[in-house]
Symmetry: D2
């Protein structure tokens, strides 16, 4: 599967954002430093990106629709010395791009100026927003980020940190947050640890980012996860770690398993696992239960790569990139004609006929959502001479919505709610389709109790009644 | 003088915005219609412009930094059928352009979705914002427009219109407003009538705009002013006019005399006067008391044109455009090199040497603020051979700040607070400088008691204690 | 009338280009210096602009569609030290903008690298191009500039200057040229002196430009015209002036009278005359023969300004700007909808109703071409209450095409070929229309034998048989 | 290795262009159709792209710097019905992008209007250009394409096709060409067949393209190579194939082996071979002679993928993508700061530490040019814990320049001219480096006598004396 872009060609749920924050004891060109992190996190969101940093006691923001290189290149021609800044890449939602929703958001309130960038989804935002509406709040965006700013401003606590802690105990769901407040850089992770957030240090500079790949680019080796329920405040004097969450209330972790299955970059390490290695393991598991392995393993690039490699190693079957991917999609390309829009997956994935002709193919992808692009893909492969196409997904059947930051279609649209694997195979024209069973997936991670598998199992780690109602109403 | 742009070359206070609203009984291409009005109001603000209109029960916004033709041309390639929309042009402030401040602002609150565009200045915004801060509101812009949205949302009145009326009685100062709420277009003018707002009708379409020039472009002849303290609600069924203001509280009008002196376009009619005619009259008055009229009347283009023509007609002196103005300044031009920034007024105004050589010039402009560009101008004229330069301003000496929407520098920077006309003449190198005395200016309008002359007299029509404190603090 | 742009609203022939060249003994930021000149010449062409200058023994070119401030601002952020450069602004032709036609053109040939910018029209280009076609030349643009480069390259003369002189004696018609060749800046004017070209010096820097307004901006006072038939070569060692033209062949000058009537900026001095002063004189002449002067003189801004002032001074009638012009047309604005295109002149010119109501108007413009926009204009004025509209043109009736650089419509489209002044008045709805008779116009200049009046008289200073045939064929 | 872009991170020679041409019996939206082909050929050039097509008997061109989706998206919003068009993608050269060099080039000459797009390199261009210079030709670009247009125009043959054939026998070297002339689409391939060119037909539409991947996207199955020395003319009536080349002169083919090694897309079929399959074979050969295969095969993505897969299959070693590639480089990104430029390969390639830690790696890439980026890469891998790094190149040592369209550095810069494989290993820090020996490479293709291996062997199929001299002089 693939991170959402102009030519959706692969089956996968969509995701929200990537965040980064930097604090330096010496003044450095913060926007340039943020650029490296955001560029490394680009796979987490291509719709818009932005930065906010402190300059002469004010917070300066620069954000626009577009990818990191496009939005920031021009801005980076000038030097912007600063101590602290945060950045954000945002995922391209269906409904059209709104510059208003680009982050970081900056607001002035009774506590002062705050810049905030957020990755996740507040599952009780509906109730909280209703409350705020009643009290007369106005919303200029449709982001949870604005909700967080409202709540901080509303807090009766005098001290900013006390307000923040109060708010962090009000909101439920998934949130990894970086903020600038006065001369401080603040990072927070929700008590369940749904979304990743890592921190690293090097030469007096502290960096927070959604994934380790954004720390690697600085050559940072001294790094750790921000812990679930941890709040870290960095300023010139110190780096202070607090535990803000009520220990009675939060008794478990709930790392999003989909970060490992699909969202994160293969070279990142999240939740204690190497993304590439865990995917390979999923591929190996997939083989171990496969009653009908084909003759040739091919991945759906790039989302199926690591799992396919794991499958190939375990099965000793040959591995080939039987599908070539065209990466040259400019950000501005929004298929101007109807004919082009209908081209869809054919613009992106191209079968290597000679490699697949006459072969029984084991095609490995990470997940299956609607089944529509897989149907096109299977047809492409068959038209190119594949003798058999066996689709293997390195995750279980997706049957339930996510309230913690993944954009999964409604239940009706999820093919696994309509059809059995056999039914799916028939519908998409594959010779067989099989999924990694949930119990197998759980075995891939040592501490499966620390993960959220709700999109597969429907067992939510948090009471999502409200969120569910809200979603129903919206749809 | 001139409306603020890349090459400030003339002495004048700066101004804030222009607004427009359109309601049509039939669905029409509202963005295109708004274009005409905003294009006509471009002189009231060149920093940013925007529109908001209802499409499928949602409010769609389109705004950006830049001038009307640049921002909207591309958008207008598609048809956008709608019943109602509002638009805004925003003045270029010194501190740098912020897309966040572009209007209209759109917010969702307990009353529903509201789009609002505003021209003016809330003089008690400081107190109101403090109150809102205390209650936990967040501000994402630095506009009074956001304040208005907050207050409407906060109102405990159940009905939207009741809330709006309540808010309009809370805010003080200058405001001409257009709004979209549900299927209604709403227009409001403050009880003093500081800023202009006119309405017109033609063929089932109702148009509101800051100046009549924006109605003329539609060929509308049926027009009137929105009255001070009037609130007009237009929908498919009716156009309802309400008087929202407490008649006990507001006992006078306070039209901004500077709209007539400088801001409005010469072909507009405001406050019952033709702008061109009243400026001509100011020029005539200026002559009537001039003890030393020169040999040739030249205007500082374009701000001094009408007054200079009045002066010339009254004096029977020849009138010539002894200064040529280069209008080809692109919006994006922000003098990339230091050398270019220093060129300043020389980039814009060019003396016609042959016209002025050896002549005693009467140079007519509308007002004098800091005196710096006038100094350059006088030098240009003298270097070009002018025998004498007599600067005549068609307004009195500006000595006081404005709290109702004009961006006048601090008292210290106002040259008339430092120097007498003779002192100014000496400082800027002119042979004489004289102003239109306040009593003469008052005679130019029949109903001078209905105008605000506070920037000249310091007599504010509204208690501006709070506003003054706020301003002091900011500076 | 007006220099061609997005909203053509005024009657006037169109024109081609403006050129500039700079040579400095010390290395300076040539592109920045060229900017000032081109910005001052923007009225001569708004379609595209460009510069070429020598950097490290290579010629660097930077050009694009758009106005000077837009095209060059970004480029000027960096310093580009150089000794010599040339620049060009190009007029917006009807057929659509072609980046390929933007100048300066740069070519490599047997003589080396040459950059060339050209203002004018080669009247025997058809014959010369046919010849070149026969010999196998290819043309990548539709400019005379490319023709000149071809001819220079073809010359059998060994020395570049000899080639150039040979070519200058082959081409006929109007050409003012600036070139870079090796370390030299070269300027040339055709033997008739059709198009203006001036040179000035200050502090070791030599500047050539189409008009003096582009020298004034540098504060240059030491200036003169490049003489008809003069070729000037500037390098570090010297400034050499040559007379390249065969004195037997060229026995007269033929300055384009339309430069004085309309093209040049009022503050420029061309052909020995102040543009503003000569236009005032035309206005005075116009009055002197006017049997029916009205009550109020109003110009069609900005093209009628100076003449209207002359008329007002002579007649002692009041002068008022009864038409306001909206200058805020962005370069990119190309009326996206049909409705907008039809708005035409109404987007640009706005009557000041109060000034003109009930008045007998003398409306002064520079010239009348097709009569279509004048018709709209007269209607606007009448609709605004004008009692009578008397249109006065400060030039004679245009009846003949121009082969020397002015874009005059075909004979059929010229209203003066169809109708008498009385007929025109009837067609456009004016109460009267009158032109400045040719003999009067000739009296305005002392040396009328040195001017080309061909568009009025049909008496061409050059044999234009070929050019005429070519034009016929094209139409 | 990689196709040249903003972050060069891989060792490979650079290449020039991709071309496409379309002829349809019915009028269709030719620019849209060209879009698909050019998008598929984007890997052959990212600097600029352009199209030219016939519209109302004129040739319309649209080209700009940038990638296909960026340049053409906006243009494609309108329908452009036509019968015939050609397109081009151009490689990004070092010296900076020149819009002047973008193709197709269009010229008018004695034969009429011609549009031409070209892939390859004329090896005797120096001599031919000298000749043209002598005769007085001017060159406005630095492309061979302009040379071809000049020669066609110069030809004394009356008929266009005769001229073209004459010219095709004058030029030497590599050229695949598509042209529009009148209502015809013409395609040509040089007699040696250096560069690929294929044609296909479907439903009355004929398509030419550099690679089959650009025909696959239309679903064309009826395709063949344009033969070396073949000239094909397509119009409404017929598709005519001619053999223009003197059979006595051209006795061999000389397909560029580097098209198979690196340039072409894996899913293309060129010179009778599947690109992916032949690369796999090279990888297999590479293993067959490898005395020290490691424990894990990793490719340098994406250029080493297919060969690495072949190596893994042959060796039965596990295959993993131990290097992640960041594809999100916007076209406009030109590393604004020095710090960013120095980041180089680190911006693009990211080691998957867990996969490679403690392993003896066999790293497969296609070729080695300068060795600089490989050095960085090896360091990255070692720093990430690789126990040993054995670099395997699926091509022989590059020691000689190419005169047929590949941009290979000078001999001095080629690392294989300085060092033995052992020396290279030492310099770049690898544990070993080995190349695919030439004789092995030759065995990978059945008909090795039909290929050009000159960059490895120095044995050029064409007399390149002139070209060599020219190149020497330039460097």
């Amino acid at each position: 599967m693939e991170h959402h872009d102009a030519y959706p060609y692969s089956e996968s749920p969509k995701h929200f954002c990537g965040i980064a924050g930097i604090f330096s004891k010496k003044e450095i060109n913060i926007p340039e430093k943020l650029f490296y992190a955001l560029y490394s996190l680009q796979h987490r969101g291509q719709e818009s990106c932005g930065i906010a940093y402190r300059k002469h006691n004010h917070i300066t923001t620069y954000k626009d629709l577009g990818m990191v290189t496009t939005v920031l290149s021009h801005y980076l021609k000038e030097d912007h010395p600063s101590h602290a800044g945060i950045g954000h890449v945002r995922y391209s939602t269906h409904g059209g791009s709104k510059i208003e929703n680009a982050q970081p958001l900056v607001a002035t309130c009774n506590k002062g100026d705050i810049a905030l960038a957020h990755n996740g989804n507040i599952s009780n935002s509906g109730a909280l927003q209703s409350e705020l509406f009643k009290e007369g709040s106005i919303f200029q965006t449709t982001t949870d980020t604005e909700l967080l700013l409202h709540l901080i401003a509303r807090s009766k606590k005098a001290a900013f940190l006390d307000s923040l802690k109060e708010v962090l105990n009000m909101v439920e769901g998934a949130f990894s947050i970086v903020m600038i407040y006065n001369d401080k850089l603040i990072a927070v992770r929700d008590p369940y640890g749904f979304r990743p957030l890592v921190m690293g240090e090097k030469d007096g500079t502290t960096v927070f980012a959604s994934e380790t790949c954004a720390l690697d680019i600085y050559g940072i080796t001294d790094m750790r996860e921000v812990k679930p329920g941890e709040l870290i405040v960095v300023d010139k004097e110190s780096t202070v770690s607090l535990s803000y969450a009520d220990p009675g209330k939060y008794r478990r972790k709930a790392h999003c398993i989909f970060e490992l299955i699909y969202f994160a970059r293969p070279d990142s390490r999240l939740f204690g696992y190497s993304v590439h290695e865990i995917r390979k393991k999923m591929g190996q598991c997939l083989y171990s239960i496969d009653k009908n392995p084909g003759e040739l393993v091919i991945p759906v690039p790039d989302s199926g790569n690591s799992a396919a490699q794991g499958y190939a190693i375990a099965s000793k079957l040959p591995y080939e990139q039987g599908l070539t991917r065209n990466h040259y999609t400019g950000r501005t390309f929004i298929q101007p004609t109807k004919a082009m829009r209908e081209f869809g997956v054919k613009m992106k994935l191209h079968p290597v006929k000679e490699a697949i002709k006459g072969k029984k193919l084991t095609v490995v992808d990470d997940s299956l959502v609607r089944g529509t692009t897989s149907k096109t893909l299977v047809k492409l492969l068959k038209d190119s001479g594949a003798k058999e196409v066996h689709l293997r997904l390195s995750s279980p059947e997706i049957k339930f919505p996510c309230f913690f930051g993944i954009d999964i279609p409604t239940r009706k649209e999820l093919i696994s709610n309509r059809l059995s694997p056999e039914g799916i195979a028939k519908e998409i024209g594959a010779d067989s389709v099989s999924f990694l069973p949930l119990e197998q997936l759980k075995k891939c991670v040592k501490n499966s109790e620390d993960f959220c598998f709700a999109c597969f199992s429907g067992e939510y780690p948090v009471d999502i009644q409200q969120a569910e109602k809200l979603q129903e109403k919206e749809k």
